[in-house]
């Protein structure tokens, strides 16, 4: 209740603050202080609500649906923190929380700069209003009580002493499919419990727990950073709208600049951490799958980065008076970046992508769906509508002068290229709305030429001067880079064995960009260091592209069975499975694999497998031998302890119903009849047998056999049938007396014999090498540093 009240109060203050800022903008006196105070009151309520949610999670208040659904009492503190953003409601709450905090800084920033505050803050508080409405009691409220909507809870989560209460009869349900019993937690049960003097928090003893995939260090920091990046895109949007409202476009670029730089840096870091998590946890060997959830965060980032490039031009061309070049482009990109954040939210949260993604959230209901559409629609119409409204004025201000060899044009082309990338990703991600979908090669093949253009432009544009450059000048300046790139190209072809023409172009263009930027960075390093930002960021992106080429185009992978104690040569490494040991209170198993690379000392890597109680499925965690030039990646597939190999035959499993036939191992198998057990004996728990009468036909000869299951005392044995003539071994492995469905394993007798004499522990793994994947992480990290260096410079410039 307290949480919902805090959210409602915050919502009221957010709306009030927005109105007061609007009145201030319209010239009302004395309203500015009220607007500021309301904003701060809203911020305090949001901080209190967030702290309260955190408190509920840490103290296991399972009467709240959110706390019950995403946490449990056995989670360590770090993962309890991660519970905050594990579900839809909480992640909206996190987004709101960081947006509101950013707003506090934005308020003080704009308050010190001319008449900026009312215009910027009224747009910004429109955004907080929508986010607050999202987590309000009407929509995705994290403070909803568990009985607000009837919910089925497994009996193991309930305090056992209450299950025997007579009134519980009415609230217990059995699911015949799974055989589990559920308690229906509804308003009626709540009232009944109240009547009996039992609190819901006592009644529900355990939470459902956190998805094991999210129980990872990176999941504690990736979402907060990513949402900070999302929230930061609200700021350039607000600045652009403020400029359109006032119809004054000279100052907004320099005022918005530090924010868009910081935002892009943070969002880029957040995206990379997500990729690093996927690489280290999901076990398919990569860091980027072009999954809708990933793409959704990439599109706004690309748009922001495109915007940064054209904003530089506007800044530079302002020096001669006027508002500068590319004003419409800058306004449009600043607006689109935030609109795309909202659109991404709509795609991943509304359920429209239900079929397309493994980890999109499931359908949240029609009201939320409609609200999300209104949310996106409002900001899209508001933003684009304002640009249209001011279009004629903006057209009349255009500066007409441009040279082919000028940096302005190169930067504009860069923005168009990055924009094209954003468009491609957005189109591919939106396809499922129209019941279409694209394969990942759509994204990959589109981005190879784009990345080549980006690499060359990246280097080339820095050789160009503003306004105009002579051809000779470029040649003179690029001497070092051209020679270095040429040498590099020869090296990668001779030693790297890169022969694909597109890949050669891609590495060469990235290397060219690297050398140009490195040379300039080296020159200015002794001078004004805060001018280094762009060059550092560009060095980062070229390293990143090199890393992507190495780790994806030149990755090798192979599936191998590792028999315990027998070294195997795999991809230039000697692997030996040395056994497994339980970890974390016997809930997980690590499989030790020693890896010897050439002659050196062996290192041990430990992929993990376990059956999760959260979703009853086998979880596999890879392990990686990391190195600068190459990672060696081992993902476990399955483990066979050898005892089952001795007992159960090797062969193929097949399920049949009576009268069904199948061909298997070169024989025809017909399930002729079900051999009935003695029902009365079976019911009383005595010894009985049942099975299937089978007709096996091979090489024209038929034989009738009985595959039986015997129950004696507590044990059940299956009796295999060996057919010497047909060289077959048939064993019943499963049979259901009600449906008569039976499962058999059929194998070659000769092969079975060989296996049974040699029981062995076998670990099947997927091994792969990832050349230069370290450059992917290093590249992004360097790029992020570049963004922040630039931000520092532009922050100082934002005053003048």
């Amino acid at each position: 209740m307290a949480g919902s009240i805090l959210i409602t109060l915050a919502l009221a203050f957010s709306i009030f603050s927005m109105v007061m800022y609007y009145l201030t903008y319209r010239g009302a006196k004395n309203t500015l202080t009220i607007a500021r105070m309301s904003y701060h009151a809203m911020a305090i309520f949001v901080i209190m609500a967030s702290a309260f949610l955190m408190y509920l999670i840490i103290t296991h208040q399972y009467q709240y649906e959110y706390v019950y659904s995403y946490s449990s009492d056995d989670l360590p503190f770090g993962y309890l923190l991660a519970t905050f953003w594990a579900g839809q409601q909480g992640s909206f709450m996190l987004w709101l929380f960081v947006t509101v905090l950013i707003g506090v800084f934005l308020q003080s920033y704009t308050g010190k700069r001319d008449d900026l505050e009312p215009r910027v803050m009224m747009v910004f508080s429109l955004a907080t209003t929508f986010l607050l409405a999202m987590v309000s009691p009407m929509l995705k409220n994290p403070f909803a009580y568990i009985w607000a909507e009837p919910m089925f809870i497994e009996t193991v989560k309930i305090n056992a002493s209450y299950l025997t209460q007579p009134f519980m009869q009415n609230f217990m349900f059995n699911d015949p499919n799974s055989g589990q019993t559920f308690v229906k937690m509804s308003g009626d049960l709540y009232a009944t419990l109240q009547g009996a003097g039992i609190s819901v928090n006592q009644f529900i003893a355990h939470g459902k727990g956190l998805n094991p995939l999210l129980q990872n260090f990176w999941m504690q920091i990736h979402p907060p950073i990513l949402f900070t990046g999302f929230a930061m895109t609200t700021v350039p949007f607000s600045f652009a709208m403020a400029a359109l409202i006032k119809n004054d476009y000279k100052d907004w670029v320099r005022q918005s600049f530090p924010w868009i730089l910081a935002g892009s840096g943070i969002l880029g870091l957040g995206i990379m951490l997500g990729g690093y998590w996927a690489y280290g946890v999901l076990g398919w060997g990569g860091y980027w799958a072009w999954d809708p959830v990933e793409n959704a965060s990439l599109v706004p980032w690309l748009i922001s980065v495109a915007g940064i490039h054209t904003m530089i031009v506007q800044r530079k061309t302002q020096s001669k008076g006027g508002m500068g070049k590319f004003v419409k482009t800058n306004l449009l990109l600043s607006i689109l970046a935030y609109v795309m954040v909202l659109y991404s939210t709509f795609l991943t949260r509304s359920g429209v992508l239900g079929d397309a993604s493994v980890h999109s959230f499931v359908d949240p209901g029609t009201i939320v769906y409609l609200f999300l559409i209104i949310f996106v629609g409002t900001f899209l119409l508001f933003g684009i509508g304002m640009i249209f409204y001011r279009w004629r004025y903006l057209e009349s201000q255009i500066v007409n002068e441009e040279n082919l060899l000028a940096r302005e044009l190169a930067l504009f082309t860069a923005a168009v290229t990055i924009g094209a990338s954003a468009l491609i990703v957005a189109v591919g991600t939106s396809a499922p709305i129209f019941k279409q979908s694209v394969e990942t090669r759509f994204y990959n093949e589109m981005h190879v030429p784009l990345a080549i253009i980006i690499g060359f432009l990246n280097g080339f544009s820095l050789l160009l001067k503003w306004r105009q450059t002579s051809g000779e000048d470029i040649l003179k300046k690029s001497k070092f880079s051209l020679i270095a790139t040429g040498v590099f190209a020869v090296l990668i072809i001779l030693f790297g064995k890169v022969y694909d023409i597109m890949m050669i172009l891609l590495t060469v263009s990235a290397a060219f960009a690297f050398f140009v930027n490195a040379e300039i960075a080296y020159k200015i390093f002794t001078g004004n260091k805060k001018m280094l930002g762009a060059y550092i960021a560009h060095i980062g992106i070229s390293l990143f592209i090199l890393g992507v080429v190495g780790s994806s185009a030149y990755s090798k992978q192979v599936e191998v069975d590792l028999t315990k104690g027998k070294p195997v040569q795999v991809l230039g490494h000697t692997l030996e499975f040395t056994g497994y040991n339980p970890i974390e209170n016997n809930t997980k198993y690590e499989f030790n694999v020693s890896v010897r690379d050439g002659g050196g000392k062996p290192s041990v890597i430990k992929p993990i497998m376990f059956v999760s109680t959260f979703n009853n499925s086998l979880m596999r965690e890879p392990d990686i031998l990391e190195g600068f030039t190459k990672d060696f990646y081992i993902s476990p597939l399955s483990y066979d302890d050898g005892t089952s190999a001795a007992k159960s035959p090797q062969g193929n499993a097949v399920t049949l119903m009576p009268d069904e036939k199948t061909s298997i191992e070169g024989a025809q198998l017909t399930y002729a009849d079900f051999i009935k057990p003695d029902m009365s004996v079976m019911m009383s728990g005595g010894n009985f047998q049942m099975g299937a009468k089978l007709i096996v036909t091979k090489n024209g000869k038929s034989e009738t056999i009985e595959a039986l299951m015997k129950k004696e005392g507590q044990g059940v044995t299956f009796i295999p049938v060996e057919l010497k003539d047909a060289d077959l071994r048939v064993e019943l492995t499963k049979i259901d007396p009600t449906t008569k469905k039976a499962e058999f394993v059929v194998g070659k007798l000769s092969a079975t014999a060989a296996v049974t004499t040699l029981p062995a522990e076998v670990l099947a793994v997927n091994a792969s090498t990832k050349p230069f994947i370290s450059l992917v992480w290093i590249g992004v990290a360097v790029m992020v540093i570049g963004f922040f260096v630039s931000m520092y410079r532009r922050l100082q410039e934002s005053w003048t």
Partner: protein, 129 residues
């Protein structure tokens, strides 16, 4: 000013062209009607459910998994998947297989299982009570 439009325009046109071409080439449609799935050899994402009553086969040496799927109207088809049986397959409510229908069988190269997850078991339990 002209240069801006020439450069930007060329890039946009070239990439729009490439995008449309690749989109149609790599486009995979979702199809829940197996009649349509079986009438074409295009790559398709077929959605349906596993026919648990029918036989299935796991071939360990060739790493294939063969089973039957049916759509909402009861059309059935045999699916041959090259790979190991996915986690959660037994409890999957619906299955999305990506592949082509050829010579009377659907050859899947990817299986996505939709499990009664924490979001859905409310409904599944409700349906049975």
């Amino acid at each position: 000013m002209k240069n801006k439009y020439i450069f930007g325009g060329v890039i946009v046109v070239v990439f729009l062209g490439m995008m449309i071409y690749l989109f149609t080439k790599s486009n995979v449609q979702y199809e829940s009607d197996f009649g349509k799935v079986m009438s074409t050899e295009r790559t398709i994402k077929a959605t349906g459910s596993w026919v648990k009553e029918k036989s299935y086969e796991i071939n360990k040496s060739e790493r294939t998994f063969v089973f039957y799927m049916k759509d909402a109207t009861g059309h059935e088809m045999k699916v041959i998947y090259s790979g190991t049986i996915p986690n959660n397959f037994e409890s999957a409510k619906s299955i999305v297989v990506t592949g082509q229908y050829k010579n009377g069988n659907f050859h899947a190269r990817d299986i996505l299982t939709k499990c009664p997850s924490k979001y859905q078991d409310k409904q599944s339990a409700a349906a049975s009570s």
